[in-house]
Symmetry: C2
Subunit: 314 residues, 2 copies
């Protein structure tokens, strides 16, 4: 019977164990624990934080590494592939929950939930807070990155009456809910900025997208614009963002990700009234273990029968 | 030239004055001020708070009262109609913004924004908060009240993958985005409760709907259910709600309206981690004066030419 080593800070191991009799599940408690068991295992399940590059040497041909995350820059995918190790991520699992988190951030900004929570803590009922609220209907949203999450946001945003545009590296391969004239390439991104009320970042972090939202981009947005980031912190030049907020070049920012995580206690982002920070929890959901187990066991069936795996990265 | 007395806590009067030369606009600063000018005026614009029942005696046939709100229980509509005074509300203006506020409340609950804001205030980055987050996709939403706001929420919720049901006094006259089998009458409301994950209240307050969400209703919901109220506070029996939250009969509540407004500082709702309170600001929007002026001036044109007014209540 195949063996899977699972190293994760949620009860994925026990959830999977409860759902199958065809797999030996080893719940690792530490990286040292992983090193002890990985050589004899066939499958390794973890998130980017649970990975160490020396793990590669315990993995051999036909082994399989399943990331619980969408992001996989922490994993040496090329090296794994070279060794014949299959690598899959959990992209499809995260789309809808990250999309919901993006809407949580954009509504936290537009409905001034920071200020209303402050009132709630003080037992204060002051409708004056409403004077700074706005609503999104009819406003222009630009989604940078039309992968699964970006598309999922774009689709929902249209139901809210947003005027939605998207940016994709290769617009010609786009097949989603936006009409062709609304999807532009990275090169034409700048043309959209002066009319963008809300810029939503959902693009993977690559050399090309690092700091793609820089001082020039922020200056080109209207002063009333907001930025929401559920991608990776380094997609934004964070110093430029703080400066743009301070100088009133944009109105608000909702950030689930930042350049240095955890965000240092001294960061000026924490105390800004115009900024909402959540601690990289866009993909989190109470029922993640159950949902992940379902995705993993589907993939496990495919792996057993030699079929191509879902969410395979190579 | 006709005269409008405008008594409101946002700059509606000046916004309207800037947009027309065909109307004398009197900006009243107090109810006493309203009494001074109303007799000579043709139009009165205010919100429920700005109304006093003695104003009726200053109004005469063919005068017109335009509420800036959707709610109009504070206005003696029957008496106004009897005197030949036209009464209109601002229903169409509020639909989308209240709908967005309802989503702000439901995402504030599911993404635990109270807890993330507490972290932000403390400069603390603890991803552990994610363990209590959930996502809505695939869950059942029941919208009680399928007027404009309810329908606007139901439509958006479908884009989020909610399994949406609705309750309407007269299901036979419903013509919206839900299929017929998903719209039930008030009498059948209880049948939906055991499968409802999120109950959204958008029903007008009437004798029939007062405390329609009572202890029985709350007990019939699953323990994992949440309630969001953007209607009127008294649609919920608030003592029963507090008890249900305390006893774990439901999981969370998002309230933009409460039985006694302002919510008294001693209310147990303020300190509940599972409850988000916003101070009746669901309809507020920075661009309200501009949007309202547009709606009002459209109606004013109709009034001048003797056409039926939009949002007329009788």
């Amino acid at each position: 019977m195949p063996t899977a080593v699972i190293y994760h800070d949620t009860p994925i191991a026990s959830t999977i164990r409860d759902r199958t009799d065809d797999l030996t599940v080893v719940a690792a408690e530490s990286k040292a624990d992983v090193r002890t068991h990985l050589g004899d295992a066939d499958i390794f399940v973890t998130n980017p934080k649970g990975w160490s590059d020396d793990f590669v040497k315990y993995l051999s041909e036909d082994d399989w590494v399943q990331a619980t995350s969408i992001g996989y820059t922490a994993f040496p995918v090329a090296e794994l592939n070279e060794r014949g190790v299959t690598f899959t991520n959990a992209a499809t699992l995260h789309d809808s929950v990250v999309s919901e988190h993006a809407f949580a951030l954009m509504f936290a900004l537009s409905r001034r939930l920071g200020a209303t929570f402050d009132q709630q803590r003080e037992h204060e009922w002051d409708r004056g807070v409403g004077a700074d609220m706005w609503h999104w209907e009819g406003r222009r949203m630009t989604v940078f990155g039309l992968g699964n999450i970006g598309e999922s946001i774009a689709r929902r945003a249209q139901a809210f009456g947003f005027d939605v545009y998207g940016v994709k590296r290769t617009p010609s391969i786009y097949s989603g809910s936006l009409t062709e004239d609304r999807v532009v390439s990275n090169e034409d991104f700048h043309d959209l900025l002066p009319e963008t009320d809300l810029l939503v970042l959902t693009v993977p972090l690559t050399d090309e997208t690092r700091h793609i939202v820089n001082a020039d981009v922020l200056a080109a947005l209207p002063e009333s614009a907001a930025v929401v980031n559920v991608a990776r912190g380094s997609v934004i030049d964070q110093n430029a963002l703080v400066a743009a907020l301070k100088d009133g070049e944009i109105t608000a920012a909702g950030l689930d990700v930042v350049e240095e995580e955890p965000l240092p206690p001294t960061s000026p982002l924490w105390d800004r009234e115009d900024t909402v920070v959540t601690p990289h929890v866009g993909g989190r959901s109470k029922d993640f273990p159950v949902r992940f187990s379902r995705l993993f066991l589907d993939n496990y069936d495919r792996w057993l029968s030699g079929k191509p795996l879902a969410n395979c990265i190579n």
